[in-house]
């Protein structure tokens, strides 16, 4: 049963990823990316990470990709503004073949790990309580640094999006 769910989600994830890089209209790519991200949230649930399942759906699919779709619609890109990529599919296929050795080397590295069952864990592994305890006991300084990073990104986005005529 787990196998069937995993393969279904994996096929959706990969189909979404391939659609993301092969459509020429950005809005179709964004829709494919949403499919890929939601299928990956399901895989997180299979890996006993219910909190990350929620975070993936709410923050990734709900906030980041929605922002991206807003920007794509807001720019109102015409077809003549899109870059011309005539041999795009041939280039994509060729470079995918070139990356096969990278995948094989990584798989060989992970193949040395001892086999272990990866069933869904009972108990509260991955729950919000355990997650928060780990976050605030062992990772407090990185957490504060991330909040400073988000503040800097916010200020940077406001500065860039301001009406100006100095750049260029």
């Amino acid at each position: 049963m787990i196998d069937i769910i995993f393969f279904t989600l994996a096929i959706f994830t990969l189909a979404g990823g391939i659609g993301t890089i092969s459509f020429s209209q950005p809005i179709y790519s964004a829709m494919s990316l949403i499919v890929s991200i939601i299928a990956m949230a399901g895989i997180f649930a299979l890996l006993s990470a219910p909190f990350l399942f929620l975070v993936q759906i709410i923050i990734y699919a709900g906030a980041i990709i929605t922002l991206l779709v807003f920007i794509i619609m807001f720019l109102n890109v015409k077809n003549e503004h899109l870059p011309k990529e005539e041999n795009k599919n041939i280039h994509l296929t060729l470079s995918a073949f070139l990356l096969i050795p990278l995948v094989l080397v990584s798989l060989k590295a992970f193949n040395t790990l001892p086999l272990k069952s990866m069933e869904i864990m009972s108990g509260d592994f991955g729950s919000i309580k355990l997650f928060g305890m780990t976050l605030f006991q062992g990772w407090l300084v990185p957490f504060e640094l991330i909040s400073i990073l988000l503040l800097c990104a916010l200020i940077g986005a406001v500065v860039y999006a301001r009406k100006e005529d100095k750049i260029g």
């Binding site: 993301t20 459509f23 895989i43 993936q56 980041i64 503004h81 986005a157 860039y160």
Partner: protein, 105 residues
């Protein structure tokens, strides 16, 4: 078969390669951004799979940090795209040469 870590690592590596191919081949700046999101997602999947394998919550916390960095990146990258598109009226990443030296054409 889905009970071994190799299935998850294979999926993450194939997704990472997909994103890398997109970053290298495509010229549309939006699709380059989405390919970067695919790369980050593949790494998050690897972290979560390893968290389950070693039964440790630390890797899941790192995955959350990666998501937060992706959110910060989205804000800055998308506002940059808006500014560049207003000036160049193009989404081709080869036309964004503001930071290059003037004598290199």
């Amino acid at each position: 078969m889905a009970n071994s870590i190799l299935a998850y690592v294979t999926l993450a590596m194939i997704l990472f390669s997909t994103g890398l191919v997109g970053v290298i081949v495509r010229k549309n700046i939006f699709i380059i951004y989405m390919s970067i999101e695919l790369l980050l997602n593949a790494i998050i999947l690897l972290f979560v799979a390893l968290a389950r394998y070693y039964e440790s919550m630390d890797a899941q916390v790192i995955a959350l940090f990666v998501i937060a960095v992706a959110a910060a990146e989205a804000a800055v990258f998308l506002s940059l795209i808006v500014v560049l598109y207003r000036h160049k009226k193009s989404l081709n990443c080869e036309s964004f040469t503001i930071l290059a030296q003037k004598d290199i054409k």
